[in-house]
């Protein structure tokens, strides 16, 4: 599994270009998250892909060729902070509810909705942690689950910022030799 971060133009069709590229390289995307950055014209993507280092290099280099991609970087080998968020609707009656509450404490999950026969649990953390919680909830009956997919950031002073708003010097238009 490889993790890439990309800064892209925040406009229609860009997601399609990015995902279409992965498709063409026969790389299966495990998760792709996209959201705005502090600059509303730029969006940040975290792409987690089923591929090896060679495939990630191709994806990274090919992504950077897209006009709307400002930067793409494979951060798989760097020190990373990764987060995934899940909402899990689980069966819960009078009897099982206290047990569930105990379990959630261990996983630092929160109950965000309570109904007579179910709960919605919100949990965030690494993929492993969420998968772990899911395993222990399964016997109670998982009715529905929604996950955001991973977002990732390199730790400490290892910054990955979008390039500054300094468009490359416009070359003279193509002229016939």
């Amino acid at each position: 599994m490889q993790t890439l971060v990309a800064y892209v133009e925040n406009k229609p069709g860009v997601l399609n270009r990015v995902s279409s590229l992965a498709r063409r390289l026969a790389i299966n995307i495990d998760s792709l998250t996209v959201g705005p950055t502090e600059n509303e014209e730029i969006a940040r993507m975290t792409i987690v892909a089923h591929t090896d280092a060679k495939g990630a290099h191709r994806l990274e280099a090919s992504l950077e060729k897209l006009v709307d991609v400002l930067l793409a970087e494979n951060i798989s080998d760097r020190s990373l902070l990764e987060r995934d968020l899940a909402l899990i609707k689980v069966s819960a009656d009078q009897q099982s509810r206290p047990h569930l509450m105990d379990l959630l404490k261990v996983f630092r999950g929160r109950v965000v909705d309570v109904a007579p026969d179910s709960l919605i649990v919100e949990v965030s953390g690494t993929v492993d942690k969420i998968d772990g919680l899911l395993e222990v909830l399964r016997p109670y009956g998982v009715l529905e689950m929604a996950r955001t997919g991973r977002i990732a950031m390199t730790r400490g002073g290892d910054l990955l910022q979008p390039p500054a708003e300094t468009a490359t010097e416009p070359q003279p238009a193509a002229k016939i030799s």
């Binding site: 133009e9 897209l66 238009a173 030799s177």
Partner: protein, 570 residues
């Protein structure tokens, strides 16, 4: 100055130096055509939009500038797809402008509405829909910039009809391209560069693989100086032909599936390959597991995505070929390497036996004869535009190009039907040049309607049909790999000379060797276009041949027994 979007488009194209547009009108692009009529731009009416894209491509390849193709929405746009893909695979700067239905109708399945940006996303370098008149000028300027910078490629601009009709302010100085900011990567570091220099100077058996990138970056002079500084032998890719003179003693000729045998052997025996502006396509490497096993590899390439894609390299110098070569050249130590050059000369000596030129002249017509005679008669100075197949490989083998941009051919996509329209584009790019189409009887029938374009435009193009009555390259594969079961390759054709006449073009039919040279001479002297139908050996094959997936040194060679002597007469 307030103009309509259509007028802004024409003004912008004029400012960009465009002289000709290859296109076909229709409903969704009509406002632009109305403005075209009032502009200085010359519109070349094609007979099929695929032809428009090939013409723009041929124009771009022959000139080094951007070729422009235009079509209406829907079928006009979808007919461009093959030509766009052809330009994409061969890194050719083409800008396609398509009309689109009004922006309010987008997504409604309106008449002749198609999502052409969606369709062409994987086969363009970039594409964009413009739905406001005020965005047209900047977007078109950006399209030209993207198409012909870095690794060139096609860009499609889809303009809605309401954007063409609406009015907006036009000021050339206020619509400069504004592309998203890009991170500038350091292309390579000093240790990488030093490693390349060390590999180059310590190599005993170096070989340069010269690709299309040399011409694209205008590195012909820098490349020749680099080659002579290190006294390196040079092998050419198909699209690299012309980037380094064929008559230079260090030019060995073409590599790959139908490359010269000595070139392929030299690749397999080399201890260092220096790839310049080429991408290790499967047609030049053969089986990657056995490819140049004893060689270290240096890759000089502008596209970072090509590094380590097919072949793992020992030093990667990402950048413009000319800049990198100019930096490397002063560090080259001139080494004669007599053993290596002697070895290559020996292999060349062995291979010359298979040369069709040294076979006795039986009076029969061979494609190689025709092309070799064409080379001699044109002093190697013509712009030759080929189609795809056997004749294309014979052209690469027997027409020796000394100048850049004199061979125009579809390499990456291998698009049959390319030659005739691309030659029309090349003629507009170089009106003074002697332009020859070398095309098979199969490919010619795909786009022969463009003969009418030649007549309507009153241009002079010479067309040599290498007519063997088969889809020859496919037939050859059937001969070698399918036990001569010629399924769907025998091909009925019209009387091409009579066909040419019906368009008002002079047509000839040649069946004997003796008539080749006089016919070529008279065609060159004739003021108008001439079509020559060369009836050649039907079952001749291109040698040598590396079967698909085989190792580069495992070539099928021309058998020593006499050539198959079938009649070429109908």
């Amino acid at each position: 100055m307030k103009l309509t979007g259509a007028e802004i488009l024409c003004e912008t194209l004029e400012h960009l130096g465009v002289k000709e547009i290859f296109g076909y009108p229709g409903g969704a692009i009509l406002p632009v055509y109305d403005a075209l009529g009032k502009s200085k731009l010359h519109h070349v009416l094609v007979r099929h939009e695929q032809g428009a894209t090939h013409m723009a491509d041929g124009y771009a390849r022959a000139s080094g500038g951007v070729g422009v193709a235009m079509a209406t929405s829907g079928p006009g746009a979808t007919n461009m797809v093959t030509g766009i893909a052809t330009a994409m695979l061969d890194s050719s700067p083409v800008v396609c402008i398509t009309g689109q239905v009004g922006s309010k109708l987008l997504g409604s399945d309106a008449f002749q509405e198609i999502d052409i940006t969606g369709i062409t996303m994987p086969i363009t370098k970039h594409n964009v829909v413009v739905s406001r008149a005020e965005d047209i000028a900047r977007t078109v300027r950006e399209a030209f910039l993207i198409a012909n910078s870095g690794r060139p490629g096609p860009v499609l601009v889809d303009i809605t009809k309401d954007a063409q009709q609406a009015s907006a302010e036009f000021d050339w100085d206020k619509c400069a391209p504004k592309l998203p900011p890009k991170r500038r990567r350091a292309n390579y570091d000093q240790p990488e560069f030093d490693r390349a220099v060390e590999l180059l100077n310590s190599s005993k058996r170096p070989l340069i693989l010269a690709g299309h990138g040399i011409m694209i970056s205008g590195a012909m002079k820098a490349f020749a100086e680099f080659v002579h500084a290190g006294h390196f032998p040079v092998a050419m890719t198909l699209l690299g032909i012309g980037g380094f003179p064929a008559n230079d003693p260090l030019n060995l000729g073409m590599m790959g599936m139908h490359g010269e045998a000595w070139v392929n052997h030299a690749i397999q025996e080399a201890d260092l390959l220096i790839a310049v502006g080429m991408r290790f396509d499967d047609r030049v490497t053969g089986d990657l597991r056995t490819y140049a096993k004893s060689a270290k590899k240096i890759h000089i390439e502008i596209d970072r995505a090509e590094i380590n894609k097919n072949v793992r390299v020992d030093a990667a110098l990402v950048g413009d070929a000319r800049e990198v070569l100019e930096l490397l050249e002063p560090h080259m130590e001139k080494k004669e390497r007599p053993d290596w050059h002697t070895r290559i000369a020996e292999m060349k000596g062995d291979s010359a036996v298979r040369d069709i030129q040294s076979l006795p002249d039986t009076g029969h017509l061979y494609a190689a004869h025709v092309i070799n005679d064409l080379w001699k008669e044109t002093n190697g100075d013509a712009i030759v535009v080929t189609d795809v197949g056997q004749h294309q490989m014979w052209e690469a083998q027997y027409y020796h190009h000394n100048k850049p941009r004199t061979l125009v051919t579809s390499g990456g996509l291998g698009t049959m039907g390319f030659a005739l329209p691309a030659a029309i584009g090349a003629k507009f790019a170089k009106p003074e040049a002697d332009v020859w189409v070398v095309v098979g009887d199969g490919g010619f029938q795909m786009t022969m309607a463009e003969l009418a374009t030649i007549v309507q435009e009153k241009i002079k193009i010479n067309i040599a049909i290498i007519n063997n009555g088969y889809l020859g390259m496919v037939r050859q594969w059937q001969e070698f790999f399918y036990d001569k079961r010629y399924v769907a390759t025998p091909l009925v054709a019209p009387d091409f000379a009579a066909l040419a006449n019906s368009f008002g073009i002079r047509g000839e039919r040649i069946t004997t060797r003796a008539d080749v040279v006089p016919t070529i001479r008279s065609a060159r002297e004739y003021k108008e276009s001439v079509l020559i139908d060369f009836r050649v050996e039907q079952e001749d094959s291109v040698y040598p041949m590396v079967p698909a997936g085989a190792s580069l040194h495992e070539m099928i060679r021309r058998p020593n027994n006499p050539l198959v002597e079938t009649s070429a007469e109908p």
